[in-house]
Symmetry: C2
Subunit: 318 residues, 2 copies
Protein backbone atom coordinates (compact mmCIF):
# COMPACT_ATOMS: atom_id res chain seq x y z
CA UNK A 1 0.00 0.00 0.00
CA UNK A 2 1.74 3.18 -1.09
CA UNK A 3 0.95 6.87 -1.29
CA UNK A 4 2.38 9.06 -4.04
CA UNK A 5 2.48 12.81 -4.05
CA UNK A 6 0.44 13.95 -7.03
CA UNK A 7 -1.50 16.98 -8.04
CA UNK A 8 -5.00 16.81 -6.54
CA UNK A 9 -7.70 18.03 -8.90
CA UNK A 10 -9.62 21.22 -8.29
CA UNK A 11 -13.14 20.79 -6.80
CA UNK A 12 -14.70 22.53 -9.83
CA UNK A 13 -12.93 20.12 -12.15
CA UNK A 14 -14.52 17.23 -10.27
CA UNK A 15 -18.02 18.45 -11.17
CA UNK A 16 -17.03 18.86 -14.81
CA UNK A 17 -15.93 15.23 -15.04
CA UNK A 18 -18.66 13.41 -13.14
CA UNK A 19 -22.38 12.96 -13.76
CA UNK A 20 -24.91 14.41 -11.29
CA UNK A 21 -27.26 12.02 -9.44
CA UNK A 22 -30.73 11.37 -10.87
CA UNK A 23 -32.40 12.95 -7.82
CA UNK A 24 -30.56 16.30 -8.10
CA UNK A 25 -33.46 18.28 -9.58
CA UNK A 26 -35.92 16.66 -7.18
CA UNK A 27 -33.63 17.53 -4.26
CA UNK A 28 -33.28 21.11 -5.50
CA UNK A 29 -37.05 21.57 -5.67
CA UNK A 30 -37.74 19.89 -2.33
CA UNK A 31 -35.04 21.80 -0.41
CA UNK A 32 -36.19 25.07 -1.98
CA UNK A 33 -39.81 24.39 -0.97
CA UNK A 34 -38.78 23.21 2.52
CA UNK A 35 -36.61 26.25 3.22
CA UNK A 36 -39.23 28.71 1.97
CA UNK A 37 -41.90 27.09 4.16
CA UNK A 38 -39.95 27.90 7.35
CA UNK A 39 -40.48 31.09 9.36
CA UNK A 40 -37.89 33.87 8.83
CA UNK A 41 -36.01 33.24 12.09
CA UNK A 42 -36.19 29.43 11.95
CA UNK A 43 -32.77 27.87 12.43
CA UNK A 44 -31.94 25.20 9.88
CA UNK A 45 -29.31 22.45 9.99
CA UNK A 46 -28.02 20.32 7.14
CA UNK A 47 -27.05 16.96 8.67
CA UNK A 48 -25.03 14.65 6.42
CA UNK A 49 -24.92 11.00 7.44
CA UNK A 50 -23.56 7.59 6.40
CA UNK A 51 -20.67 6.63 4.13
CA UNK A 52 -20.13 7.34 0.43
CA UNK A 53 -19.26 4.62 -2.09
CA UNK A 54 -16.61 4.81 -4.78
CA UNK A 55 -17.26 2.50 -7.76
CA UNK A 56 -14.32 0.48 -9.13
CA UNK A 57 -16.02 -0.27 -12.46
CA UNK A 58 -18.29 1.75 -14.76
CA UNK A 59 -20.71 -1.18 -14.83
CA UNK A 60 -20.47 -1.36 -11.09
CA UNK A 61 -20.07 -4.72 -9.42
CA UNK A 62 -17.47 -3.62 -6.85
CA UNK A 63 -16.97 -0.45 -4.87
CA UNK A 64 -14.96 0.94 -1.97
CA UNK A 65 -17.15 1.93 0.96
CA UNK A 66 -16.58 3.83 4.19
CA UNK A 67 -17.54 2.33 7.49
CA UNK A 68 -20.61 4.22 8.75
CA UNK A 69 -24.03 2.96 9.75
CA UNK A 70 -25.27 6.54 10.12
CA UNK A 71 -25.65 6.33 13.90
CA UNK A 72 -24.13 9.75 14.64
CA UNK A 73 -26.09 11.51 11.92
CA UNK A 74 -29.50 9.95 12.56
CA UNK A 75 -29.29 10.36 16.33
CA UNK A 76 -28.10 13.96 15.96
CA UNK A 77 -30.95 14.77 13.57
CA UNK A 78 -33.42 13.71 16.29
CA UNK A 79 -31.65 15.95 18.81
CA UNK A 80 -31.63 18.95 16.46
CA UNK A 81 -35.38 18.53 15.95
CA UNK A 82 -35.86 18.39 19.73
CA UNK A 83 -33.86 21.64 20.00
CA UNK A 84 -36.23 23.32 17.55
CA UNK A 85 -34.19 23.13 14.33
CA UNK A 86 -35.56 22.37 10.89
CA UNK A 87 -33.41 19.50 9.57
CA UNK A 88 -32.33 18.65 6.03
CA UNK A 89 -31.06 15.06 6.38
CA UNK A 90 -28.69 14.14 3.54
CA UNK A 91 -28.10 10.43 4.10
CA UNK A 92 -26.68 7.32 2.49
CA UNK A 93 -29.44 5.10 1.15
CA UNK A 94 -30.20 2.20 3.56
CA UNK A 95 -28.24 3.85 6.38
CA UNK A 96 -29.97 4.67 9.67
CA UNK A 97 -32.83 7.21 9.60
CA UNK A 98 -34.11 9.38 12.47
CA UNK A 99 -36.72 7.61 14.66
CA UNK A 100 -36.63 4.52 12.42
CA UNK A 101 -33.05 3.77 13.47
CA UNK A 102 -34.03 1.69 16.49
CA UNK A 103 -35.87 -0.85 14.35
CA UNK A 104 -33.51 -1.36 11.45
CA UNK A 105 -29.88 -2.46 11.18
CA UNK A 106 -30.35 -5.21 13.70
CA UNK A 107 -30.66 -8.83 12.67
CA UNK A 108 -34.44 -8.67 13.29
CA UNK A 109 -36.63 -7.76 10.37
CA UNK A 110 -39.73 -5.56 10.55
CA UNK A 111 -42.04 -8.61 10.76
CA UNK A 112 -40.52 -9.65 14.07
CA UNK A 113 -42.13 -6.58 15.69
CA UNK A 114 -45.63 -7.49 14.49
CA UNK A 115 -48.43 -9.88 15.43
CA UNK A 116 -51.97 -10.64 14.33
CA UNK A 117 -54.83 -9.63 16.59
CA UNK A 118 -57.79 -11.96 17.10
CA UNK A 119 -59.69 -9.69 14.66
CA UNK A 120 -57.03 -10.32 12.01
CA UNK A 121 -55.42 -6.88 12.14
CA UNK A 122 -51.63 -6.58 12.14
CA UNK A 123 -50.31 -4.69 15.15
CA UNK A 124 -47.06 -3.96 16.93
CA UNK A 125 -46.37 -6.46 19.74
CA UNK A 126 -47.22 -5.17 23.19
CA UNK A 127 -43.60 -5.13 24.38
CA UNK A 128 -42.71 -2.67 21.61
CA UNK A 129 -45.87 -0.57 21.68
CA UNK A 130 -44.74 2.16 24.07
CA UNK A 131 -41.32 2.80 22.56
CA UNK A 132 -42.43 2.49 18.96
CA UNK A 133 -45.46 4.67 19.66
CA UNK A 134 -43.21 7.43 20.98
CA UNK A 135 -40.98 7.25 17.90
CA UNK A 136 -44.00 7.09 15.58
CA UNK A 137 -45.49 10.24 17.12
CA UNK A 138 -42.21 12.15 16.69
CA UNK A 139 -41.72 10.79 13.17
CA UNK A 140 -45.19 11.95 12.14
CA UNK A 141 -44.82 15.28 13.94
CA UNK A 142 -41.64 16.28 12.14
CA UNK A 143 -41.65 14.55 8.74
CA UNK A 144 -42.30 17.00 5.93
CA UNK A 145 -42.67 20.17 7.97
CA UNK A 146 -39.41 20.08 9.98
CA UNK A 147 -37.54 17.08 8.58
CA UNK A 148 -36.64 16.65 4.92
CA UNK A 149 -34.81 13.49 3.81
CA UNK A 150 -32.52 13.45 0.75
CA UNK A 151 -30.58 10.29 -0.12
CA UNK A 152 -27.26 9.57 -1.85
CA UNK A 153 -25.15 6.49 -2.57
CA UNK A 154 -21.89 7.38 -4.31
CA UNK A 155 -19.26 9.99 -3.51
CA UNK A 156 -20.31 11.80 -6.66
CA UNK A 157 -24.01 11.86 -5.66
CA UNK A 158 -23.02 13.25 -2.27
CA UNK A 159 -20.80 16.04 -3.61
CA UNK A 160 -23.35 17.24 -6.17
CA UNK A 161 -26.11 17.25 -3.55
CA UNK A 162 -23.92 18.99 -0.94
CA UNK A 163 -23.12 21.80 -3.38
CA UNK A 164 -26.76 22.12 -4.47
CA UNK A 165 -28.11 22.36 -0.92
CA UNK A 166 -25.31 24.71 0.14
CA UNK A 167 -26.07 27.18 -2.63
CA UNK A 168 -29.79 27.05 -1.80
CA UNK A 169 -29.40 27.81 1.92
CA UNK A 170 -26.37 30.14 1.73
CA UNK A 171 -28.48 33.30 1.51
CA UNK A 172 -30.07 32.53 4.89
CA UNK A 173 -26.65 33.21 6.42
CA UNK A 174 -25.74 32.55 10.08
CA UNK A 175 -28.99 30.82 11.03
CA UNK A 176 -27.96 27.79 8.95
CA UNK A 177 -25.68 25.14 10.44
CA UNK A 178 -23.79 22.50 8.47
CA UNK A 179 -23.24 19.33 10.50
CA UNK A 180 -21.06 17.22 8.24
CA UNK A 181 -21.17 13.80 9.90
CA UNK A 182 -21.07 11.73 6.69
CA UNK A 183 -17.99 9.55 6.20
CA UNK A 184 -16.79 10.82 2.83
CA UNK A 185 -14.27 8.88 0.74
CA UNK A 186 -10.79 10.35 0.50
CA UNK A 187 -9.91 8.43 -2.68
CA UNK A 188 -11.71 7.71 -5.94
CA UNK A 189 -11.10 6.26 -9.39
CA UNK A 190 -11.89 8.80 -12.13
CA UNK A 191 -14.53 7.54 -14.55
CA UNK A 192 -12.17 7.64 -17.54
CA UNK A 193 -9.62 5.33 -15.90
CA UNK A 194 -12.21 2.89 -14.54
CA UNK A 195 -12.59 -0.59 -15.94
CA UNK A 196 -15.62 -0.73 -18.24
CA UNK A 197 -16.63 -4.23 -17.17
CA UNK A 198 -16.33 -6.37 -14.06
CA UNK A 199 -12.63 -6.77 -13.24
CA UNK A 200 -11.58 -10.33 -14.06
CA UNK A 201 -9.78 -12.54 -11.57
CA UNK A 202 -8.16 -14.75 -14.19
CA UNK A 203 -5.31 -15.47 -11.81
CA UNK A 204 -3.18 -13.02 -9.95
CA UNK A 205 -3.11 -9.80 -7.99
CA UNK A 206 -5.08 -6.65 -8.61
CA UNK A 207 -3.47 -3.26 -8.38
CA UNK A 208 -5.81 -0.32 -7.95
CA UNK A 209 -4.60 3.23 -8.32
CA UNK A 210 -6.93 5.73 -6.71
CA UNK A 211 -6.77 9.52 -6.86
CA UNK A 212 -7.26 11.77 -3.89
CA UNK A 213 -10.67 13.42 -3.62
CA UNK A 214 -10.35 17.21 -3.56
CA UNK A 215 -11.18 18.78 -0.18
CA UNK A 216 -14.68 20.19 -0.62
CA UNK A 217 -14.67 21.86 2.76
CA UNK A 218 -12.60 24.64 1.18
CA UNK A 219 -15.13 25.80 -1.46
CA UNK A 220 -17.98 25.15 0.99
CA UNK A 221 -16.52 27.54 3.59
CA UNK A 222 -15.07 30.07 1.13
CA UNK A 223 -17.60 30.20 -1.70
CA UNK A 224 -20.76 28.15 -1.30
CA UNK A 225 -21.95 29.16 2.18
CA UNK A 226 -19.43 31.61 3.72
CA UNK A 227 -21.81 33.06 6.34
CA UNK A 228 -23.13 29.77 7.71
CA UNK A 229 -22.03 27.97 10.89
CA UNK A 230 -20.01 24.98 9.76
CA UNK A 231 -19.21 21.90 11.84
CA UNK A 232 -16.97 19.21 10.35
CA UNK A 233 -15.86 15.83 11.75
CA UNK A 234 -12.50 14.13 12.04
CA UNK A 235 -12.42 10.39 12.70
CA UNK A 236 -9.13 8.60 13.34
CA UNK A 237 -7.91 5.29 14.73
CA UNK A 238 -4.48 6.57 15.78
CA UNK A 239 -4.84 8.80 18.89
CA UNK A 240 -1.58 10.63 18.12
CA UNK A 241 -3.03 12.07 14.92
CA UNK A 242 -6.44 13.20 16.15
CA UNK A 243 -5.70 16.53 17.86
CA UNK A 244 -3.15 17.81 15.32
CA UNK A 245 -5.40 16.90 12.39
CA UNK A 246 -8.46 18.56 13.92
CA UNK A 247 -6.52 21.75 14.60
CA UNK A 248 -4.96 21.69 11.15
CA UNK A 249 -8.42 21.47 9.53
CA UNK A 250 -9.63 24.53 11.46
CA UNK A 251 -6.60 26.56 10.40
CA UNK A 252 -6.76 25.40 6.80
CA UNK A 253 -10.45 25.94 6.11
CA UNK A 254 -11.33 28.64 8.65
CA UNK A 255 -14.71 27.24 9.68
CA UNK A 256 -16.28 27.21 13.15
CA UNK A 257 -16.03 23.74 14.76
CA UNK A 258 -14.24 20.43 14.25
CA UNK A 259 -15.61 17.48 16.19
CA UNK A 260 -12.85 14.93 16.68
CA UNK A 261 -13.53 11.32 17.58
CA UNK A 262 -11.80 7.96 17.72
CA UNK A 263 -13.31 4.96 15.92
CA UNK A 264 -13.40 2.82 19.09
CA UNK A 265 -14.77 5.38 21.54
CA UNK A 266 -16.89 7.57 19.26
CA UNK A 267 -20.13 6.68 21.05
CA UNK A 268 -18.92 7.84 24.49
CA UNK A 269 -16.38 10.65 23.86
CA UNK A 270 -15.84 13.50 21.39
CA UNK A 271 -13.59 16.58 21.40
CA UNK A 272 -14.88 19.92 20.19
CA UNK A 273 -12.19 22.11 18.59
CA UNK A 274 -12.75 25.80 17.81
CA UNK A 275 -10.47 28.61 16.71
CA UNK A 276 -11.21 30.58 19.90
CA UNK A 277 -10.10 28.00 22.49
CA UNK A 278 -6.59 26.59 22.76
CA UNK A 279 -7.88 23.34 24.31
CA UNK A 280 -10.78 21.31 22.97
CA UNK A 281 -14.01 20.96 24.95
CA UNK A 282 -14.55 17.32 25.91
CA UNK A 283 -18.01 15.83 25.76
CA UNK A 284 -18.41 12.37 27.22
CA UNK A 285 -21.10 10.06 28.46
CA UNK A 286 -20.84 7.31 31.04
CA UNK A 287 -21.40 3.63 30.35
CA UNK A 288 -24.40 3.78 32.72
CA UNK A 289 -26.06 6.63 30.82
CA UNK A 290 -25.43 4.83 27.52
CA UNK A 291 -26.98 1.63 28.86
CA UNK A 292 -29.97 3.66 30.04
CA UNK A 293 -30.57 4.72 26.42
CA UNK A 294 -29.01 8.17 26.46
CA UNK A 295 -26.97 9.12 23.37
CA UNK A 296 -23.88 11.33 23.45
CA UNK A 297 -25.47 13.25 20.56
CA UNK A 298 -27.90 14.82 23.04
CA UNK A 299 -25.07 16.62 24.88
CA UNK A 300 -23.16 17.30 21.70
CA UNK A 301 -26.11 18.90 19.93
CA UNK A 302 -27.08 20.97 23.00
CA UNK A 303 -23.53 22.32 23.11
CA UNK A 304 -23.57 23.13 19.37
CA UNK A 305 -26.99 24.75 19.76
CA UNK A 306 -25.54 27.14 22.38
CA UNK A 307 -22.52 27.95 20.21
CA UNK A 308 -24.68 28.46 17.15
CA UNK A 309 -26.94 30.92 19.03
CA UNK A 310 -23.82 32.80 20.14
CA UNK A 311 -22.60 32.87 16.53
CA UNK A 312 -25.90 34.33 15.36
CA UNK A 313 -25.85 37.00 18.14
CA UNK A 314 -22.27 37.94 17.31
CA UNK A 315 -23.22 38.34 13.67
CA UNK A 316 -26.12 40.65 14.55
CA UNK A 317 -23.90 42.84 16.74
CA UNK A 318 -21.45 43.52 13.93
CA UNK B 1 -5.68 -0.88 -13.05
CA UNK B 2 -3.43 -3.86 -13.74
CA UNK B 3 -3.52 -7.60 -13.18
CA UNK B 4 -0.36 -9.57 -12.45
CA UNK B 5 -0.01 -13.30 -12.68
CA UNK B 6 0.94 -14.50 -9.21
CA UNK B 7 0.66 -17.65 -7.19
CA UNK B 8 -2.78 -17.80 -5.55
CA UNK B 9 -2.73 -19.14 -2.00
CA UNK B 10 -4.20 -22.49 -1.07
CA UNK B 11 -7.70 -22.41 0.52
CA UNK B 12 -6.39 -24.16 3.65
CA UNK B 13 -3.68 -21.52 4.01
CA UNK B 14 -6.39 -18.86 4.02
CA UNK B 15 -7.97 -20.32 7.15
CA UNK B 16 -4.58 -20.50 8.88
CA UNK B 17 -3.99 -16.78 8.37
CA UNK B 18 -7.39 -15.27 9.14
CA UNK B 19 -9.47 -15.11 12.31
CA UNK B 20 -12.87 -16.86 12.46
CA UNK B 21 -16.02 -14.74 13.01
CA UNK B 22 -17.35 -14.34 16.55
CA UNK B 23 -20.59 -16.19 15.67
CA UNK B 24 -18.85 -19.35 14.40
CA UNK B 25 -19.55 -21.50 17.46
CA UNK B 26 -23.11 -20.19 17.70
CA UNK B 27 -23.64 -20.98 14.01
CA UNK B 28 -22.18 -24.47 14.47
CA UNK B 29 -24.55 -25.24 17.33
CA UNK B 30 -27.61 -23.74 15.63
CA UNK B 31 -27.05 -25.50 12.31
CA UNK B 32 -26.39 -28.78 14.09
CA UNK B 33 -29.64 -28.44 16.08
CA UNK B 34 -31.60 -27.32 13.00
CA UNK B 35 -30.40 -30.20 10.83
CA UNK B 36 -31.03 -32.81 13.54
CA UNK B 37 -34.56 -31.52 14.07
CA UNK B 38 -35.53 -32.28 10.44
CA UNK B 39 -37.10 -35.57 9.35
CA UNK B 40 -34.71 -38.10 7.71
CA UNK B 41 -35.91 -37.46 4.15
CA UNK B 42 -36.25 -33.66 4.51
CA UNK B 43 -34.44 -31.87 1.72
CA UNK B 44 -32.24 -29.03 2.93
CA UNK B 45 -30.79 -26.08 1.02
CA UNK B 46 -28.01 -23.74 2.07
CA UNK B 47 -28.77 -20.38 0.43
CA UNK B 48 -25.95 -17.82 0.55
CA UNK B 49 -26.95 -14.21 -0.09
CA UNK B 50 -25.56 -10.68 -0.26
CA UNK B 51 -22.04 -9.38 -0.84
CA UNK B 52 -18.89 -9.89 1.24
CA UNK B 53 -16.69 -7.02 2.41
CA UNK B 54 -12.90 -6.88 2.26
CA UNK B 55 -11.34 -4.53 4.84
CA UNK B 56 -8.53 -2.22 3.68
CA UNK B 57 -7.27 -1.49 7.20
CA UNK B 58 -6.93 -3.63 10.35
CA UNK B 59 -8.75 -0.90 12.29
CA UNK B 60 -11.37 -0.83 9.60
CA UNK B 61 -12.63 2.49 8.31
CA UNK B 62 -12.69 1.51 4.62
CA UNK B 63 -13.54 -1.68 2.79
CA UNK B 64 -14.19 -3.00 -0.70
CA UNK B 65 -17.73 -4.28 -1.12
CA UNK B 66 -19.56 -6.25 -3.79
CA UNK B 67 -22.78 -4.97 -5.26
CA UNK B 68 -25.60 -7.18 -3.93
CA UNK B 69 -28.73 -6.24 -2.03
CA UNK B 70 -29.53 -9.93 -1.50
CA UNK B 71 -32.58 -9.90 -3.77
CA UNK B 72 -31.81 -13.21 -5.51
CA UNK B 73 -30.98 -15.02 -2.28
CA UNK B 74 -33.88 -13.76 -0.16
CA UNK B 75 -36.47 -14.31 -2.88
CA UNK B 76 -35.09 -17.78 -3.64
CA UNK B 77 -35.18 -18.73 0.06
CA UNK B 78 -38.93 -17.98 0.06
CA UNK B 79 -39.41 -20.17 -3.02
CA UNK B 80 -37.40 -23.05 -1.55
CA UNK B 81 -39.58 -22.93 1.57
CA UNK B 82 -42.70 -22.99 -0.63
CA UNK B 83 -41.28 -26.07 -2.40
CA UNK B 84 -40.91 -27.83 0.95
CA UNK B 85 -37.20 -27.34 1.64
CA UNK B 86 -35.64 -26.56 5.00
CA UNK B 87 -33.48 -23.47 4.41
CA UNK B 88 -30.23 -22.39 6.05
CA UNK B 89 -29.95 -18.73 5.00
CA UNK B 90 -26.33 -17.50 5.20
CA UNK B 91 -26.68 -13.79 4.53
CA UNK B 92 -24.81 -10.50 4.70
CA UNK B 93 -25.87 -8.47 7.70
CA UNK B 94 -28.40 -5.75 6.72
CA UNK B 95 -29.01 -7.34 3.31
CA UNK B 96 -32.52 -8.43 2.33
CA UNK B 97 -34.18 -11.19 4.38
CA UNK B 98 -36.96 -13.58 3.30
CA UNK B 99 -40.50 -12.11 3.79
CA UNK B 100 -39.04 -8.94 5.34
CA UNK B 101 -37.46 -7.95 2.03
CA UNK B 102 -40.52 -6.06 0.78
CA UNK B 103 -40.41 -3.62 3.68
CA UNK B 104 -36.73 -2.79 3.93
CA UNK B 105 -34.18 -1.38 1.48
CA UNK B 106 -36.56 1.23 0.22
CA UNK B 107 -36.34 4.86 1.27
CA UNK B 108 -39.32 4.36 3.61
CA UNK B 109 -38.59 3.37 7.18
CA UNK B 110 -40.60 0.90 9.25
CA UNK B 111 -42.57 3.72 10.93
CA UNK B 112 -44.07 4.78 7.60
CA UNK B 113 -46.09 1.52 7.57
CA UNK B 114 -47.65 2.18 10.99
CA UNK B 115 -50.41 4.29 12.49
CA UNK B 116 -52.07 4.81 15.87
CA UNK B 117 -55.57 3.49 16.39
CA UNK B 118 -58.14 5.55 18.30
CA UNK B 119 -57.44 3.21 21.26
CA UNK B 120 -53.74 4.13 21.14
CA UNK B 121 -52.49 0.85 19.73
CA UNK B 122 -49.89 0.87 16.95
CA UNK B 123 -51.06 -1.00 13.86
CA UNK B 124 -50.10 -1.54 10.25
CA UNK B 125 -51.88 0.89 7.93
CA UNK B 126 -54.90 -0.59 6.16
CA UNK B 127 -53.33 -0.37 2.70
CA UNK B 128 -50.48 -2.66 3.83
CA UNK B 129 -52.49 -5.00 6.02
CA UNK B 130 -53.26 -7.72 3.48
CA UNK B 131 -49.80 -8.01 1.97
CA UNK B 132 -47.93 -7.68 5.25
CA UNK B 133 -50.30 -10.11 6.91
CA UNK B 134 -49.51 -12.73 4.25
CA UNK B 135 -45.77 -12.25 4.73
CA UNK B 136 -46.11 -12.25 8.53
CA UNK B 137 -47.99 -15.57 8.46
CA UNK B 138 -45.29 -17.18 6.28
CA UNK B 139 -42.49 -15.65 8.35
CA UNK B 140 -43.97 -17.04 11.56
CA UNK B 141 -44.76 -20.42 9.96
CA UNK B 142 -41.19 -21.07 8.83
CA UNK B 143 -38.86 -19.21 11.19
CA UNK B 144 -37.03 -21.57 13.51
CA UNK B 145 -38.49 -24.84 12.27
CA UNK B 146 -37.79 -24.58 8.52
CA UNK B 147 -35.76 -21.36 8.20
CA UNK B 148 -32.49 -20.71 10.04
CA UNK B 149 -30.72 -17.38 9.55
CA UNK B 150 -26.93 -17.03 9.95
CA UNK B 151 -25.26 -13.68 9.20
CA UNK B 152 -21.81 -12.62 7.98
CA UNK B 153 -20.11 -9.36 7.01
CA UNK B 154 -16.57 -9.89 5.75
CA UNK B 155 -15.18 -12.32 3.18
CA UNK B 156 -13.40 -14.08 6.03
CA UNK B 157 -16.62 -14.49 8.07
CA UNK B 158 -18.33 -15.92 5.01
CA UNK B 159 -15.62 -18.46 4.18
CA UNK B 160 -15.33 -19.76 7.74
CA UNK B 161 -19.12 -20.12 8.00
CA UNK B 162 -19.42 -21.76 4.58
CA UNK B 163 -16.85 -24.39 5.53
CA UNK B 164 -18.46 -24.97 8.93
CA UNK B 165 -21.96 -25.45 7.53
CA UNK B 166 -20.65 -27.62 4.67
CA UNK B 167 -18.91 -30.02 7.02
CA UNK B 168 -22.04 -30.24 9.20
CA UNK B 169 -24.45 -31.09 6.37
CA UNK B 170 -22.07 -33.17 4.19
CA UNK B 171 -23.04 -36.47 5.76
CA UNK B 172 -26.67 -35.98 4.68
CA UNK B 173 -25.43 -36.43 1.10
CA UNK B 174 -27.56 -35.84 -2.01
CA UNK B 175 -30.61 -34.42 -0.22
CA UNK B 176 -28.64 -31.25 0.55
CA UNK B 177 -28.43 -28.48 -2.05
CA UNK B 178 -25.94 -25.62 -2.01
CA UNK B 179 -27.34 -22.49 -3.68
CA UNK B 180 -24.38 -20.12 -3.69
CA UNK B 181 -25.99 -16.80 -4.61
CA UNK B 182 -23.75 -14.60 -2.43
CA UNK B 183 -21.50 -12.14 -4.31
CA UNK B 184 -18.11 -13.17 -2.95
CA UNK B 185 -15.05 -10.95 -3.34
CA UNK B 186 -12.40 -12.13 -5.80
CA UNK B 187 -9.64 -10.03 -4.23
CA UNK B 188 -8.51 -9.32 -0.69
CA UNK B 189 -5.69 -7.69 1.25
CA UNK B 190 -3.96 -10.16 3.60
CA UNK B 191 -4.08 -9.06 7.22
CA UNK B 192 -0.26 -8.83 7.48
CA UNK B 193 0.03 -6.39 4.58
CA UNK B 194 -2.93 -4.24 5.66
CA UNK B 195 -2.45 -0.75 7.02
CA UNK B 196 -2.81 -0.81 10.81
CA UNK B 197 -4.58 2.54 10.98
CA UNK B 198 -6.85 4.58 8.76
CA UNK B 199 -5.01 5.28 5.50
CA UNK B 200 -3.99 8.94 5.40
CA UNK B 201 -4.80 11.20 2.49
CA UNK B 202 -1.98 13.64 3.11
CA UNK B 203 -1.90 14.51 -0.57
CA UNK B 204 -1.63 12.19 -3.49
CA UNK B 205 -2.75 8.91 -4.98
CA UNK B 206 -3.35 5.64 -3.22
CA UNK B 207 -2.15 2.37 -4.71
CA UNK B 208 -3.81 -0.76 -3.40
CA UNK B 209 -2.39 -4.17 -4.18
CA UNK B 210 -4.94 -6.91 -3.62
CA UNK B 211 -4.37 -10.67 -3.76
CA UNK B 212 -6.69 -13.08 -5.48
CA UNK B 213 -9.03 -15.01 -3.20
CA UNK B 214 -8.52 -18.77 -3.59
CA UNK B 215 -11.43 -20.52 -5.32
CA UNK B 216 -13.33 -22.20 -2.50
CA UNK B 217 -15.66 -24.01 -4.85
CA UNK B 218 -12.87 -26.55 -5.40
CA UNK B 219 -12.52 -27.80 -1.78
CA UNK B 220 -16.30 -27.48 -1.32
CA UNK B 221 -17.03 -29.84 -4.23
CA UNK B 222 -14.04 -32.14 -3.72
CA UNK B 223 -13.64 -32.37 0.04
CA UNK B 224 -16.22 -30.60 2.17
CA UNK B 225 -19.51 -31.84 0.67
CA UNK B 226 -18.72 -34.12 -2.30
CA UNK B 227 -22.13 -35.89 -2.39
CA UNK B 228 -24.31 -32.76 -2.22
CA UNK B 229 -26.07 -31.00 -5.13
CA UNK B 230 -24.12 -27.82 -5.74
CA UNK B 231 -25.39 -24.77 -7.64
CA UNK B 232 -23.02 -21.85 -8.19
CA UNK B 233 -23.61 -18.46 -9.84
CA UNK B 234 -21.71 -16.49 -12.45
CA UNK B 235 -22.45 -12.78 -12.83
CA UNK B 236 -20.87 -10.75 -15.62
CA UNK B 237 -21.36 -7.42 -17.33
CA UNK B 238 -19.72 -8.44 -20.63
CA UNK B 239 -22.06 -10.83 -22.54
CA UNK B 240 -19.13 -12.34 -24.48
CA UNK B 241 -17.62 -13.77 -21.30
CA UNK B 242 -20.72 -15.22 -19.66
CA UNK B 243 -21.18 -18.57 -21.49
CA UNK B 244 -17.50 -19.50 -21.68
CA UNK B 245 -16.92 -18.67 -18.01
CA UNK B 246 -19.97 -20.65 -16.83
CA UNK B 247 -18.88 -23.69 -18.86
CA UNK B 248 -15.30 -23.35 -17.65
CA UNK B 249 -16.46 -23.36 -14.00
CA UNK B 250 -18.44 -26.59 -14.53
CA UNK B 251 -15.44 -28.31 -16.10
CA UNK B 252 -13.00 -27.03 -13.52
CA UNK B 253 -14.94 -27.86 -10.35
CA UNK B 254 -17.18 -30.71 -11.52
CA UNK B 255 -20.31 -29.64 -9.66
CA UNK B 256 -23.92 -29.86 -10.87
CA UNK B 257 -25.24 -26.46 -12.02
CA UNK B 258 -23.94 -22.99 -12.88
CA UNK B 259 -26.55 -20.24 -13.09
CA UNK B 260 -25.26 -17.51 -15.37
CA UNK B 261 -26.70 -14.00 -15.34
CA UNK B 262 -25.94 -10.51 -16.60
CA UNK B 263 -25.89 -7.59 -14.18
CA UNK B 264 -28.43 -5.59 -16.20
CA UNK B 265 -30.96 -8.36 -16.92
CA UNK B 266 -30.53 -10.62 -13.89
CA UNK B 267 -34.08 -10.06 -12.70
CA UNK B 268 -35.68 -11.26 -15.94
CA UNK B 269 -33.29 -13.82 -17.46
CA UNK B 270 -30.87 -16.51 -16.30
CA UNK B 271 -29.09 -19.39 -18.06
CA UNK B 272 -28.78 -22.77 -16.41
CA UNK B 273 -25.61 -24.67 -17.38
CA UNK B 274 -25.09 -28.35 -16.57
CA UNK B 275 -22.49 -30.93 -17.62
CA UNK B 276 -25.15 -33.07 -19.29
CA UNK B 277 -26.57 -30.52 -21.75
CA UNK B 278 -24.54 -28.83 -24.47
CA UNK B 279 -26.81 -25.77 -24.48
CA UNK B 280 -27.95 -23.93 -21.36
CA UNK B 281 -31.61 -23.93 -20.32
CA UNK B 282 -32.99 -20.39 -20.43
CA UNK B 283 -35.34 -19.19 -17.74
CA UNK B 284 -36.97 -15.83 -18.33
CA UNK B 285 -39.88 -13.80 -17.10
CA UNK B 286 -41.84 -11.13 -18.97
CA UNK B 287 -42.03 -7.49 -17.95
CA UNK B 288 -45.77 -7.98 -17.36
CA UNK B 289 -45.26 -10.88 -14.96
CA UNK B 290 -42.58 -8.92 -13.11
CA UNK B 291 -44.87 -5.92 -12.79
CA UNK B 292 -47.58 -8.23 -11.46
CA UNK B 293 -45.22 -9.16 -8.61
CA UNK B 294 -43.90 -12.51 -9.89
CA UNK B 295 -40.18 -13.15 -9.33
CA UNK B 296 -37.98 -15.11 -11.71
CA UNK B 297 -36.76 -17.04 -8.65
CA UNK B 298 -40.09 -18.89 -8.61
CA UNK B 299 -39.38 -20.53 -11.99
CA UNK B 300 -35.69 -20.92 -11.25
CA UNK B 301 -36.24 -22.69 -7.93
CA UNK B 302 -38.98 -24.95 -9.39
CA UNK B 303 -36.53 -26.01 -12.10
CA UNK B 304 -33.76 -26.68 -9.57
CA UNK B 305 -36.20 -28.58 -7.38
CA UNK B 306 -36.93 -30.95 -10.33
CA UNK B 307 -33.25 -31.42 -11.08
CA UNK B 308 -32.41 -31.97 -7.44
CA UNK B 309 -35.10 -34.68 -7.14
CA UNK B 310 -33.64 -36.34 -10.25
CA UNK B 311 -30.17 -36.15 -8.71
CA UNK B 312 -31.40 -37.85 -5.53
CA UNK B 313 -33.18 -40.59 -7.55
CA UNK B 314 -30.08 -41.22 -9.65
CA UNK B 315 -28.01 -41.54 -6.49
CA UNK B 316 -30.43 -44.12 -5.03
CA UNK B 317 -30.37 -46.21 -8.24
CA UNK B 318 -26.59 -46.56 -8.16
Amino acid sequence: MTLDMRRVIDPDTYFDHNLPPTNLQWAHDEVDRFVKSQSPDQRIVLVTSGGTTVPLENNTVRFVDNFSAGTRGSSSAEQFLAQGYAVIFLYREHSLQPFNRNYSHNTRGILSYLERTSEGQIRVKREWEEKMGRDLDLYQKYTGSKLLMVNFTTLSDYLFLLREVSLLVASLGPRVMFYLAAAVSDFFIPSHSMSEHKIQSAGGDLTLRMNQVPKFLRPLVKNWAPLCFIVSFKLETDPELLGPKARHALEKYGHQVVIANMLDTRKCQVWLFTKEASDPAIIQISKEDQDAGRDIEQDLVEELDRRHQQYISNGQQQ
